[in-house]
């Protein structure tokens, strides 16, 4: 009896499903598209996101408090010459700054916000050197030799600054400046030159470093010399579950985004993996788009004739295969021209497109 009942129910459900499909199919198709949905204005969205109530505040608070018991050990390790690397889910900014303000009061602390889009590393290192200079001045022993007034820090070269920070100025070896770097794997610090400089800074005898990472591939930034001898990281897993409010400021909100904007960098990577002919076809399209910024795009026929002239393709089929590949990688999109023709366009801003052309021409 029960089994039958179950079967009936399933049968009924299946029947209803197919009826609904039929009815739906016979009706008029809606002409609305997903892209017609009006998305919320970004400012409104950000304001709304800011006013979201944070959940589990009590639990997060007690978790952060529990980390306070680790502070003495962290100070001990910093004094022994290690660097501290914090990882774990959640923003570690508040935790590290709290640690620095409460446990590292005897030394100057400089904070670098690595999550910002661009950071001038030379200016940051100059500021570190100046902070060290201030600290050494106050600790100067009457008998100790102290370098006389030299040229101001902001006109010195990076190598000079590093030599200053590494020199043994005072007998006391525990005189150091602590550099806190939030998101040492952030976009502004990711390039190899900056990481090399940071490593050399960390290796200086008067500098100690505390940093946090969030990117899963962050360890790829460093080679063994940097990890073992320069940064000398001690890893600490400190998940905080605190939202990334400060770190996410410059990232576009996903809800406002729409997902149509393709960053130039990923496009460049994809293009570099294609054959030279495919790249040249793409270049033709890009040049046309840059030359005619007000048009909807390049008609396919025009593209074909230019590519044939330049011997990039031999037939329509070859061109179509290139275009399919571009579409698969979301490098180009199709639009309807006012004439009714299909036009191709690259969904990138003009500057991004110029940069992309530069990248693939190298």
């Amino acid at each position: 009896m029960e089994g039958n009942y179950g079967e009936d129910e399933e049968f009924g459900f299946a029947r209803n499903y197919f009826i609904a499909k039929e009815l739906g199919g016979s009706g008029k198709k809606s002409s609305r598209k997903l892209s017609d949905i009006e998305l919320v204005d970004e400012q409104e969205l950000r304001a709304a996101a800011r006013s979201i109530e944070s959940k589990h505040e009590k639990e997060i608070g007690s978790l952060l408090n529990s980390y306070k018991s680790l502070y003495p050990k962290w100070v001990f390790e910093l004094r022994c010459g290690f660097g501290l690397l914090m990882y774990g889910f959640g923003s570690k900014k508040a935790l590290i700054e709290d640690f620095a303000s409460t446990a590292l009061t005897e030394c100057a602390v400089l904070v670098i916000n690595g999550y910002l889009q661009s950071i001038n590393i030379k200016q940051a290192v100059t500021a570190i050197a100046e902070a060290l200079w201030d600290q050494l001045k106050t600790r100067r022993t009457p008998s100790g030799d102290f370098p006389k007034v030299q040229q101001p820090f902001n006109s010195r070269s990076m190598d000079d600054l590093l030599a200053f920070m590494d020199g043994s100025h005072s007998e006391k070896n525990d005189c150091f400046v602590c550099v806190v770097i939030h998101n040492i794997d952030g976009p502004g610090l990711r390039d190899s030159d900056t990481q090399q400089y940071l490593a050399r800074v960390a290796a200086c005898s008067h500098i100690r470093m505390v940093a946090s990472i969030d990117h899963v591939n962050a360890p790829l930034l460093w080679d063994k010399k940097m990890v073992h001898t320069q940064f000398n990281w001690c890893w600490y897993h400190v998940p905080t579950f605190v939202p990334y409010k400060a770190e996410g400021i410059f990232y576009p909100l996903i809800l406002a985004h729409g997902g149509t904007a393709q960053s130039a960098k990923t496009a460049a990577i994809v293009l570099q993996s294609l054959t030279p002919n495919a790249q040249s076809v793409f270049k033709v399209l890009a040049e046309h788009q840059l030359a005619h910024p007000d048009e909807e795009g390049m008609p396919v026929n025009n593209l074909y004739s230019i590519c044939r002239e330049r011997f990039l393709v031999s037939s329509q089929i070859t061109l179509n295969s290139h275009l399919t590949e571009f579409k698969d990688h979301e490098l180009i999109k199709t639009r309807r021209h006012s004439d009714g023709q299909d036009c191709l366009y690259i969904p990138l801003a003009t500057e991004a497109l110029e940069k992309l052309l530069q990248d693939i021409s190298q």
Partner: protein
């Protein structure tokens, strides 16, 4: 902290969180707002000052012991670090001396070419003789893919050559990157010789420096750490430039090579290779260095600090399977040391126990002053709980600690003797060490599994070692077996080395001397027989006798080794109060060295 201040700081590329507490006057923020921001210091400083002045007696005590532990750590680690440096320097000394000899010979050859060094610095000196100006180049083969281990080596080489009167500059592959180009490496070179940073670096500046009084009678050596990581084009340009200017500045090049000695052929074009007059040098292998460090730090216990068997196994696996660099091994040891001194309250005793000379004097004074809580904690340590009959006094503690020291010495002597025997079978000390630290574990050991359970704890370790001796796969067993198979001459050498090693452990020393005298007696007998004229038949019989006699000696030596392993090789984790000197927390070490999995 005011919120608007806070929010604005979040958007600055960098800002000063606070200045050092010692400073009384507040520094006004100068310069543009964008670069500096200060957060109010007073509330925090007031709180801290309060804590430091008014703290309770207990807090002051804690602070005092924390300071003692910090001091002890510094002492212990600097001892370990200097020991490692000395060990590595000794390994490299032969090669360094060879290189120095070659540098002097090359410099003499350059001088004897007869070119005079004029003070004029033309941009393109005219090459007077028809032959190529070749640069004397030494390729130092590191036999190690991990260049990080050899950073120290090349630094030491530079210091060694400097101490023998050469001008030395150390360059690394960063100076030869494509970004910096030839200007970058020249700048680095000039900075090291002239002690100034110049924006417009030119080789003529080097030439004029060299021709200065006092500079030109010494060879100029340029050491490039890791040749394979240099940008080929920049390196080629550099070599060509040096060879053009070889008349003015006779540079001798030393390059570190990791892969094969043919590596220059892969990186440099043939027209550049023609300018190099190459000599080859080989450094000691990484395993040689590892053994030397394990011997000096973990077996001979230069500082008294030691690690437990799980930690030893982790460090060994980490080295063999993951990282492969000596640097990371030493770093893991340092992390273990830091962990030990920051978490074990009694670790401050290590300094007095092992490092200071008059430890006896210290103990007799200090043990009377040990606070009650500390004694209670010490006698409550897991390793002491078995022996509850002992009275909890400072005197007993001092006595037990000196007993620990004595047992450690015996253990260390036995392991070193095993290593000497194992050398004939190419056994690595790291492997022997990891076996030798394994303690008896009660019911869960393989030994119990092998020999049945229900064994009393006091004889556990000797039974476990019986297992080690009999188990064919163990390195210790292999070492002992080798003793049985050694020919007489090598056995003699082995016994000599044992004689030296066992000087501090009289019981073993006497037995070794006994064996040595037997061996001499046998040798003497065989010598006499060789001298006299004996028919062939008799010779073969006497040879057989001689063989049998020497086999008896081998057997005796092997038995002695077994006795030593059984009776004198007590692993530290079996000794009471070992928690003071031994670090065992492998989980902490693993998560801190490399993060959690």
């Amino acid at each position: 902290m005011a919120t608007p201040d806070h929010a604005e700081n979040d958007l600055q590329p960098f800002f000063v969180l606070h200045k050092a507490l010692v400073q009384k006057s507040e520094r006004k923020s100068s310069g543009s707002r964008k670069i500096r921001r200060r957060i109010e210091l007073s509330p925090i400083s007031a709180k801290n000052a309060e804590k430091m002045e008014i703290g309770t007696g207990e807090e002051r005590d804690d602070h005092h012991y924390e300071h003692l532990r910090m001091e002890a750590f510094n002492f212990v680690w600097s001892k370990i670090e200097s020991t490692i440096k000395d060990v590595l320097r000794n390994i490299n000394l032969n090669v360094f001396n060879e290189i120095h000899r070659w540098v002097c010979e090359s410099f003499d050859a350059i001088k004897s070419c007869g070119t005079t060094l004029t003070k004029a610095t033309h941009s393109y000196p005219i090459v007077t003789d028809a032959t190529f100006r070749q640069l004397f180049t030494g390729l130092v083969f590191t036999k190690n893919m991990e260049f990080v281990d050899d950073l120290m080596t090349f630094e030491e080489l530079g210091l060694h050559l400097k101490s023998h009167g050469c001008h030395v500059a150390n360059l690394s592959s960063i100076d030869f990157s494509a970004n910096n180009g030839i200007g970058g490496c020249l700048r680095s070179l000039l900075r090291q010789f002239l002690m100034v940073t110049l924006d417009a670096a030119d080789i003529s500046i080097l030439a004029s420096w060299y021709s200065d009084q006092g500079n030109y009678n010494k060879p100029v050596v340029v050491i490039i750490d890791d040749m394979e990581r240099c940008c080929g084009s920049v390196l080629s340009d550099f070599i060509l430039m040096l060879s053009e200017w070889a008349v003015k500045v006779p540079v001798i090049l030393i390059m570190g090579v990791a892969t094969t000695l043919d590596a220059p052929r892969n990186i440099l074009p043939s027209n550049v290779l023609q300018h190099l007059h190459v000599s080859k040098f080989l450094l000691g292998s990484p395993s040689e260095r590892m053994d030397a460090i394990v011997e000096a730090v973990l077996v001979r216990l230069c500082s008294g600090f030691c690690v437990g068997y799980k930690v030893a196994a982790f460090m060994r696996n980490y080295f063999l399977r993951q990282d492969g660099t000596l640097t990371s091994f030493i770093r893991a040891l340092k992390i273990a040391c830091v962990e030990h001194f920051s978490s074990e309250p009694l670790s401050f005793m290590l300094k007095a126990l092992f490092v200071e000379e008059n430890s006896q004097g210290f103990w007799s004074e200090e043990h009377a002053l040990f606070p009650e809580e500390m004694l209670k904690y010490a006698f409550d340590l897991p390793s002491c709980r078995r022996n509850n009959t002992e009275e909890r006094t400072g005197e007993n503690l001092a006595h037990d600690l000196s007993e620990l020291k004595r047992l450690q010495k015996c253990w260390s002597t036995t392991v070193l003797c095993l290593y000497e025997a194992g050398k004939y079978n190419k056994i690595q000390l790291l492997d022997l060490f990891c076996e030798a630290v394994v303690p008896c574990l009660g019911n869960s050991t393989a030994s119990n599994h092998h020999l049945g359970s229900g064994i009393s704890s006091s004889s556990d370790h000797s039974i476990h070692h019986q297992y080690l001796i009999s188990e064919k796969c163990s390195f210790i067993c292999q070492a002992i077996r080798k003793v049985r198979d050694l020919p007489v001459v090598l056995l003699y050498q082995l016994l000599k080395s044992w004689e030296k090693l066992t000087e501090d452990v009289i019981e073993i020393h006497d037995k070794v001397k006994e064996l040595q005298s037997l061996l001499k007696f046998e040798n003497g007998k065989s010598l006499k027989q060789d001298l006299t004229n004996i028919p062939k038949r008799h010779t073969s019989r006497s040879h057989l006798n001689m063989d049998k006699d020497s086999k008896v000696l081998n057997e005796k030596a092997a038995r002695l080794m077994e006795t030593m392993v059984r009776d004198y090789m007590q692993p530290v984790e079996c000794i009471p109060f070992h928690e003071i000197v031994c670090f065992k927390n492998v989980d902490k070490l693993q998560s801190e060295s490399w993060g959690e999995d």
